[in-house]
């Protein structure tokens, strides 16, 4: 934790608030970010922060950081905990699931049995003879491939796409927003106008054109193209959020102190300012993952994303929709898995937002 960050309840109690923005006397906006008490117990929120913290401080002698507070609040939110558990389970399953399936039933995501002579997809828990068996808990697809194994591999790809593209958007968005926000003036104006312009372009249409024209060479190349396309779409909002945060932070005393001691601009931005924007950035990043996954699925569904024999939830759904009338399980299993994951990630993101920034508890 950075020294200059006001994080503990006790430190602020009674001590002169060190991080007020210039020109505003003791009741600082920073203060209201410190703890949940001010927001969650409105009957106490009368601005007597110091007295109250001192009173309550007795129980908080060990000091509690912003992050520990947030973690506690997160654990109180049942839906967020549910989301977290589901996300962890699905992630684990898609990492260790495929090897286990290979060990137990001998099927892999791209294994096509040799005896498939006609197009027939097996329903869940069924053998070719129509009796019950555990070998295909989700049935098979048209080529006789095990759907469970494909759903798990699809999960790997979908989650990987979500996480990597979010990281790409984090790197671009945070640097861009931070630089624009800190430099301000003309630079800021130009940089943000560019973001505005990109915002109002029919971006996904251009991405479709890009993938349709350049894609289809090799599965791996397609995947890289997909990362570039998705990452370049999703950094805009991140840049705006970070810029807003930086602007509200950059005139505070710790930045002035850093500047006075001759710290370089880049170091001020990335060592002193960016770590202080972590809360909103984390919140937005968690909510970016499901939206990127949805975009990936949308592109794969149209046939521009992940190519066979690799699978993602979108491409599995796209395969499944062709046989929806006769083999509905081909669509239902990947579709429901994806919906459940997105559902959980959204709940987790909402929960994180409520936990890290109780004032933003809105939608």
């Amino acid at each position: 934790m950075k020294e200059e960050k006001p994080v503990t309840e006790n430190e602020s109690a009674g001590v002169e608030p060190a991080f007020t923005p210039l020109g505003t006397p003791p009741e600082p906006p920073v203060r209201s970010r410190e703890g949940d008490i001010i927001h969650t117990s409105p009957e106490l929120a009368v601005g007597e922060g110091d007295v109250r913290s001192a009173e309550m401080g007795a129980g908080l002698v060990h000091g509690t950081s912003l992050w520990r507070d947030a973690w506690k609040r997160l654990l109180k939110n049942k839906l967020a905990v549910f989301g977290m558990i589901i996300v962890v389970l699905i992630t684990l399953a898609s990492i260790i699931g495929p090897p286990i399936i290979k060990k137990t039933t001998g099927y892999t995501y791209d294994f096509i049995p040799r005896d498939v002579t006609f197009i027939k997809s097996l329903p869940p828990f069924t053998t070719p003879e129509g009796t019950f068996s555990w070998s295909h808990p989700m049935g098979t697809d048209n080529s006789g491939r095990d759907i469970l194994a494909r759903v798990l591999i699809g999960g790997r790809i979908s989650l990987m796409v979500g996480i990597i593209s979010t990281i790409v958007s984090l790197i671009i968005g945070v640097s861009y927003g931070a630089i624009a926000g800190y430099l301000g003036g003309k630079t800021d104006n130009v940089m943000m106008r560019i973001v505005d312009i990109l915002y109002s372009l029919p971006y996904l249409i251009l991405v479709i054109v890009l993938l349709a024209l350049f894609g289809g060479k090799s599965p791996l190349g397609q995947l890289v193209l997909l990362f570039i396309a998705l990452g370049s779409v999703s950094w805009l909002t991140m840049a705006r959020i970070v810029r807003g945060q930086i602007i509200s932070l950059k005139n505070q005393e710790f930045v002035q102190a850093a500047r006075a001691t001759g710290v370089t601009t880049m170091k001020i931005i990335f060592r002193h300012l960016v770590p202080n924007t972590l809360g909103p950035v984390i919140i937005y990043a968690t909510l970016t993952i499901p939206s990127v996954m949805l975009t990936e699925a949308f592109l794969s569904f149209l046939g521009f994303g992940v190519q066979a024999p690799l699978a993602s939830w979108g491409s599995l759904a796209s395969d499944g929709i062709q046989n929806i009338a006769i083999f509905p399980w081909q669509l239902i299993f990947p579709g429901v898995t994806m919906a459940l994951t997105l559902f959980s990630l959204n709940f987790l993101g909402d929960g994180l937002r409520d936990a890290l920034d109780p004032q933003m508890r809105k939608v």
């Binding site: 109002s200 372009l201 479709i208 759904a317 929806i324 509905p328 959204n346 809105k362």
Partner: protein
């Protein structure tokens, strides 16, 4: 206000040029050509084709030709659908996409605002919890999962509605696609409305309105709704863009011959005029609609000055 509108209209021109140039560049950089098929063409024929379509000229001449033609809204002839101009194809595909998109938009607004307001008024009640859980579900279920599931239920099991195929504007074939397309926006709008309303209902001016003895209905509709809908209004711009791209998927699911279908076909055929035509058209639509949303914003919220 007038100055703002003029400035916005003027900035649309360079943005359109950017979009068109990007698309043009992508098509030119991409491997493959519209005339290369399964079989290699004899060099003489290839040369003739290149000469006919002006591909033998330097790139800046070709670029200038494309851009200057689009400036007068002539997108040229399709390379694959012979004898058809891109404008004809646009005129044929637009009604399909437009009716799909507009109906979904209106449905999302009506249902979303109603559900969100009711949830906010009865905060923490059963209605609130259920509608918000449903909204979360709506955000999480991708439309290409929802659509086929609806088809499975209503068309292939209950036989109530046609499963696919476009059959004119007011027809039952539109019901499932419109629901599929609007579900996620319905959910977003419901959540935004609820949040906005909750904030406004606690504000001082609502208390004032109640205190001066206004009827509850007037307080809600004339005062609360107007303030509470601000987040929804600012979401309408992005929502339009998403609906435009959402139609691509829904058209694919329900086999509708709309703009998205033609765009994908155009990309697969390397049909340059068709791709550029559709992208430019979509960009123009989007920019215009965004401008309208911003103007509407200023009318609804008197605090906004441009």
């Amino acid at each position: 206000m007038l100055r703002f509108i003029i400035r916005r209209v003027l900035i649309m021109v360079p943005m359109l040029i950017i979009v068109i140039s990007m698309t043009w560049g992508l098509i030119r950089l991409a491997p493959g050509n519209f005339y290369t098929g399964e079989r290699r063409l004899p060099p003489a024929i290839e040369q003739n084709i290149r000469a006919k379509y002006g591909l033998d000229k330097p790139w800046y001449v070709q670029y200038w030709r494309t851009v200057s033609r689009i400036a007068v809204l002539d997108f040229g002839n399709s390379l694959k659908y012979e004898g058809q101009s891109v404008n004809t194809i646009l005129a044929r595909a637009l009604p399909v996409s437009a009716s799909l998109g507009l109906l979904a938009y209106v449905l999302a607004l009506i249902v979303g605002i109603t559900a969100g307001s009711i949830a906010a008024l009865k905060q923490n009640s059963g209605v609130d919890y259920w509608s918000m859980a449903l909204a979360m579900l709506g955000i999480s279920v991708p439309n290409f999962v929802l659509g086929p599931l609806l088809v499975l239920l209503f068309s292939l099991t209950l036989y109530w509605l046609p499963p696919a195929r476009w059959s004119g504007f007011p027809s039952a074939s539109l019901i499932l696609p419109v629901i599929t397309l609007s579900a996620i926006y319905m959910a977003y709008i419901a959540r935004l409305t609820r949040a906005g309303m909750l904030e406004v209902l606690r504000s001082d001016y609502i208390r004032t309105a109640r205190a001066k003895g206004l009827r509850e209905r007037d307080v809600l509709i004339r005062h609360a709704l107007r303030g509470g809908l601000m987040p929804v209004v600012s979401y309408t711009g992005p929502a339009l863009a998403f609906i435009l791209t959402g139609t691509v998927v829904v058209e694919r699911i329900f086999a509708f011959p709309g703009l998205g279908t033609y765009l994908i076909q155009g990309c697969q055929n390397r049909d340059e005029p068709l791709i550029i035509g559709i992208v430019a058209f979509v960009a123009i639509t989007l920019l215009t609609l965004n401008l309208l949303v911003d103007i509407a914003y200023a009318f609804i919220d008197p605090r906004i000055r441009y």
